[in-house]
């Protein structure tokens, strides 16, 4: 694994906007898509990441099974509200399919990749990984390979989803260009799988007393939402959604995995697993330097680095009300002063590819840059 400096394509901005529809390549005047560098992996390094990803996904599915079987006690440790328990259990027991997830891994090319966290419900940075970096490879080094069949696997996953002729609604919050871009990309793959699709903002979803409806009052039977389950269940229409009146993607059982308390439960289930970092719901259980993360948080907000209980670094944010998990500190590798996190994707629970986000600090935030990769 090495970081290479590369010459950006002179017209890359115009190209990715015009030909790919990639509009959020620059965020708050700072480059987000960054092709001044790339990461080169060996084939065996990619195999290591792929195998670890497959194993982590299987462990996560096993954890959902354990949580559903143990019921109340496990849900409470995960801070999942009681109102959601039945929906989680029924979605799991009937085998509702899931589309995708992104494991964030710390890996430097030696030793096992370590799971920092699992974005099981609303992962983003998908379009960049699936399309933009693939397109970059075609221009930069077409003979090389890339761990990235995300696009093909998404189309295949939609074909197997069991949606049939029902209209599939894609939703995200109003006025958020990155979320809208991610959702529009997913819709693109669904259309290519032959599905009938539509768009609606989550704020515009209506409830007519019996079912969810769109702005023309047509029923919404199947809803993809790039909006966290833990937010949905706490909002006024949450109780309707939990009745199962609409099929929701991701399914309700992803609530078990989308909060960081699940990292502690994973460690309890498989203590000492080489791809896991020791994690606990209690601060004093994890020795040495510890990273404290809110049970519910996004984009690296409210993360603190603790040394014997003392905060030595932290990020700001609005999260943490539900409590924290404490994870053994695994410093991210540094490449020329950059700290890469590997976002390793599963599509329909199969390893599908990766995207790398770099930050100039050791806590990856939403200010990080997406840097492409290749191998071989």
């Amino acid at each position: 694994m090495e970081r290479l400096r590369t010459e950006p394509r002179p017209d890359w901005r115009e190209h990715v906007e015009r030909d790919l529809g990639f509009v959020f390549h620059t965020i708050d005047d700072a480059p987000y898509w960054d092709e001044t560098a790339c990461y080169r992996f060996s084939e065996s390094e990619v195999d290591t990441i792929e195998d670890a990803t497959g194993e982590l996904e299987q462990m996560c599915l096993a954890l959902v099974d354990r949580v559903v079987a143990s019921g109340e006690e496990a849900y409470e440790r995960l801070r999942i509200p009681r109102s959601a328990w039945a929906a989680i259990e029924s979605s799991w027991k009937v085998g509702e399919k899931n589309l995708y997830g992104r494991f964030d891994l710390s890996y430097d090319g030696s030793g096992p990749p370590r799971l920092l966290e699992y974005n099981a419900d609303t992962p983003t940075a998908l379009f960049e990984a699936a399309v933009v970096q693939w397109d970059w490879l075609e221009a930069f080094r077409p003979e090389a390979d890339q761990f990235n069949s995300i696009h093909e696997r998404l189309i295949e996953a939609w074909r197997n989803f069991g949606i049939g002729r029902r209209r599939l609604y894609f939703s995200s919050v109003k006025g958020h260009v990155e979320d809208a871009g991610t959702v529009e990309y997913l819709r693109d793959t669904a259309v290519q799988a032959g599905l009938t699709t539509d768009r609606i903002d989550v704020e515009d979803i209506g409830w007519d007393g019996r079912r969810f409806v769109d702005l023309e009052n047509r029923p919404i039977d199947v809803l993809f939402k790039l909006y966290p389950w833990e937010w949905l269940v706490g909002e006024p229409f949450g109780e309707h959604l939990l009745t199962g009146v609409a099929k929701v993607i991701e399914p309700a059982w992803k609530m078990v995995l989308s909060n960081k308390a699940s990292l502690a439960l994973l460690w309890e289930m498989a203590p000492g697993h080489p791809n896991l970092l020791e994690t606990s719901l209690e601060p004093e259980r994890v020795p040495g330097r510890v990273v404290r993360k809110p049970i519910y948080s996004r984009e690296g907000a409210n993360v603190s680095l603790l040394q014997e209980g003392r905060v030595i670094a932290e990020t700001s944010g609005d999260y943490g009300a539900e409590g924290f998990v404490y994870q053994s500190y695994a410093p991210l590798p540094a490449f020329d002063g950059n700290f890469p996190v590997i976002g390793s994707w599963v599509i329909a629970s199969q390893p599908a590819g990766m995207g790398i986000r770099e930050d100039s600090t050791a806590i990856t935030r939403d200010t990080s840059r997406f840097v492409p990769h290749f191998f071989g």
Binding site: N148, H176, Y185, V191, D201, D204, N217, W231, R298
Partner: protein
């Protein structure tokens, strides 16, 4: 070797990177609750007086001429509004332009700037009835047939009655961050 590769063999996008007319949500600039579709003065005169109907029709026709999308090629127009739904008009420059078909107008009693609400309605793709207002396009109903004769087959979009909205999305406003992670 290609068969063993871990990268996608090819990538095609069908929605992204292309621009089209996006239908706006009802709400701002949407038709008022009491607005109805009328295809002709006679149709309108069953409800309002003839003079009002004539003035509203003239107003809608003028707005249509000024504001309706105009295309230099018929195929471009039909790509937006559907096959058979575009008419040739004489451009002021002398050439031909293509525009969607004016089917009638939405008229309501709600006053806006001292006037009755009146907006042209033309035929969109898949039989939809499209009403422009404030730079946005609204789907106000549908037509049962094709061509200008279908104006009599207008069906309004389902009325907003018992539906409540805004039951999702509050958390996103409470947190100063994105939904994705």
């Amino acid at each position: 070797m290609t068969a063993l590769m871990k990268k996608s063999r090819s990538i095609r996008l069908v929605l992204l990177g292309s621009a089209g007319i996006t239908l706006a949500a009802c709400g701002d600039d949407g038709p008022p609750q009491d607005a109805q579709f009328y295809s002709s003065v006679a149709d309108c005169a069953a409800v309002y007086d003839t003079a009002t109907c004539e003035s509203v029709k003239a107003e809608a026709e003028q707005k249509f001429a000024e504001e309706a999308p105009k295309f230099t090629r018929k195929e471009e127009c039909e790509a937006e509004f559907g096959p058979g739904n575009c008419e040739t008009q004489q451009a002021s420059s002398g050439g031909s332009i293509f525009m969607p078909m004016l089917m009638g107008y939405m008229m309501g009693s709600m006053l806006s700037g001292g006037n009755r609400f009146a907006q042209p309605v033309y035929r969109g793709a898949n039989g939809s009835a499209v009403m422009p207002n404030g730079g946005k396009f609204f789907n106000v109903g549908s037509f049962g047939g094709t061509g200008a004769g279908a104006a009599n087959s207008f069906r309004p979009a389902a009325q907003v009655s018992q539906v409540s909205r805004g039951g999702f999305g509050q958390s996103a406003r409470a947190y100063r961050t994105t939904s994705g992670g």
